[in-house]
């Protein structure tokens, strides 16, 4: 009986190829849209998460001034000292490392290439805190720091602008008024929604202070980069650092903080949540397109319902049972839905692979969404293909034949 129904259903599809094509098209577009949007949305989420984790895990940044981004509030506010960084890492439990950072913007010259670069003077732990990896050469060491060696590690943007694709390691460049040997090249991190991270030159703090800008005050540290140990509660840590710094900066209880602590984890969570929201939004849009596809199918079914009702009447009149007729319609609907669904999956795979490359997000085949989209499309197809048939098959054959 099932084979009979299959044979009849396939014949009936073959006789009405336009109708079959339009039905398949509705499912096909819906499935392709939903899979593509969700897959790319998840790719984008992954890309953002990867870039944020490049910033450094559990990274806290201590800056002068009342709040993030308020420049006026930081004017005239004392900066930090190297001692602040040492004391934070020594006195607060749960801190993996703390690095004092002194930044400057200086001209950098190699042969005829010159540019203004952001220079970071710091200690060797800075590289671990900020998750920098080496592409070439080496980081500077504690020895370099103590001796104030004129060495630097450069980011990929600086390398490209000064050296093109040449290997910069071992070459001397001019930074401000001093010559400085490039000892390492960093693995690029890319954009992370907060400027080009690879536009950086990192050198020993002592070298920056002594050779390039001169140390004119104890309070010459612009920021302190702090990494927490894994599993340490960031909020508790921030409270501890805050009270330590208030004490070290002699703030009275009635005075506001004249520094702020910036937690990348919070940013990561916020951005992660935002991209997840975007993915859900895309999925909703795609869901609507599947629904529109479904309505398209319903339209085709409704337009052909008179013809199909008469067909059902004829089949019943020559001796088909209602069950057989329904089985035929079910097989027809399932077949068309599956063809449309599978074609949609294939198209979505191609689209995802292509678009992921163009918009530069990772492409992971997401089995779950493929299965969901396929089942949903099958359900839509069956619902809209089968429901009109169910009504017709309940009629007396003569009423089905007379249907207008």
């Amino acid at each position: 009986m099932i084979w009979n129904a299959l044979a009849i259903a396939l014949r009936e599809i073959g006789r009405n190829l336009t109708r079959a094509f339009l039905t398949v098209l509705g499912i096909f577009i819906g499935v392709a849209a939903i899979i593509t949007m969700v897959t790319l949305g998840q790719g984008a989420t992954l890309a953002v998460k990867a870039q944020i984790s490049n910033l450094g895990n559990n990274l806290l940044t201590l800056r002068p001034g009342a709040g993030f981004g308020s420049r006026t509030a930081s004017a005239g506010v004392p900066h930090f000292t190297e001692k602040d960084a040492t004391i934070i890492s020594e006195q607060i439990a749960g801190i993996a490392a703390a690095a004092p950072v002194r930044t400057a913007s200086l001209s950098t010259i190699y042969l005829q290439n010159a540019r203004l670069s952001a220079i970071t003077g710091t200690t060797p732990v800075y590289f671990q805190i900020n998750k920098w990896n080496l592409a070439e050469g080496r980081f500077f060491s504690e020895v370099d720091l103590r001796s104030g060696a004129a060495v630097c590690v450069i980011g990929n943007t600086v390398r490209t602008e000064l050296f093109g694709s040449d290997n910069p390691v071992g070459v001397k460049i001019r930074i401000g008024k001093a010559a400085c040997e490039v000892i390492g090249l960093l693995v690029p991190k890319g954009q992370a929604g907060m400027g080009d991270q690879d536009d950086t030159i990192i050198m020993p703090l002592s070298a920056l202070q002594r050779r390039l800008i001169g140390k004119n005050s104890e309070h010459d540290i612009n920021q302190i980069s702090i990494s927490a140990q894994d599993g340490v509660d960031g909020t508790a840590l921030i409270t501890e650092i805050t009270s330590l710094m208030r004490q070290r900066r002699n703030l009275q209880p009635n005075q506001d903080n004249n520094f702020n602590i910036f937690d990348t984890r919070q940013i990561a969570e916020t951005l992660g949540a935002t991209t997840q929201l975007m993915t859900m939004l895309l999925a909703a849009v795609a869901g609507v397109s599947l629904l529109v596809g479904g309505i398209g199918i319903m339209n085709i079914m409704l337009v052909s319902v008179t013809e199909r009702t008469r067909e059902i009447g004829i089949r019943l009149a020559i001796g088909a049972t209602a069950r057989e007729v329904l089985l035929q319609f079910l097989v027809e609907a399932v077949t068309l839905s599956c063809v449309g669904g599978l074609a949609g999956i294939v198209l979505a795979f191609g689209l995802c692979a292509g678009l992921a490359k163009i918009i530069q997000v990772p492409f992971n085949f997401n089995l779950q969404i493929n299965v969901i989209a396929f089942l949903f499309s099958a359900a839509v197809g069956v619902l809209f293909g089968y429901t009109p048939a169910r009504r017709a098959a309940r009629l007396n054959p003569i009423d089905a034949l007379r249907h207008e």
Binding site: N4, I314, A317, I318, G319, A320, T321, R323, E324, P397
Partner: protein
Amino acid sequence: MNQPAASPLIELRGLTKTYGVGDAAFQALKGIDLTIQAGEFVAIMGPSGSGKSTLMNVLGCLDTPTAGSYHYQGIAVEALNTNERSLLRRYALGFVFQGFNLLARTSSLDNVELPLLYRGVSRQDRLAKAVAALTSVGLPTKLRSTPAELSGGQQQRVAIARANVTEPSTLFADEPTGNLDSVTTGDVMELLTRLNLDRGITVLVVTHDDHVATFARRTVLIKDGLIESDVVRP
């Protein structure tokens, strides 16, 4: 008089059919008593709206009566469920409609094969029987034609082939010649007569046409949902 051993092919007692309910109710059949023996060729005549089609549809199990009894070969049809009525149509009844009712975009061969498909006849047998049936109605060259490519008379002959390919015990034809000219009408009636005489199929034909009625030995006249006369030609 010699009493028939088996029960009659068709036996109606007080059959009524009411369309609609309440104020809109209309009684199309008002109590029909009718007995038809196997092998008869019966013409059913009467003015328009008298209930001929209603009667045929009830007899052909395409519609259900409101009251009364209908026995087919001794089986109480009103006691059958939808499924069983389908099976009765499948194995015992054939129907020819005034409007042909062939499947659109479907070849003559496929249309004629269809009842065999539901009977579970093998592919080879289906093909052989369908070709034979189409040949017997004079359409051996139109096997692949769809209804749209056939004339009215040809379509009706395909419908007759479809109705008799299963060799039913009764063939119901509701104004089979209503849409045909007099020459084609003669062809179609000859076909039905041959099925009746050669194969012993009981034939019931509804018609307005006196000429068509001359092919039948028995003529039942219906008026306002009741049998007015029932004449058997000697």
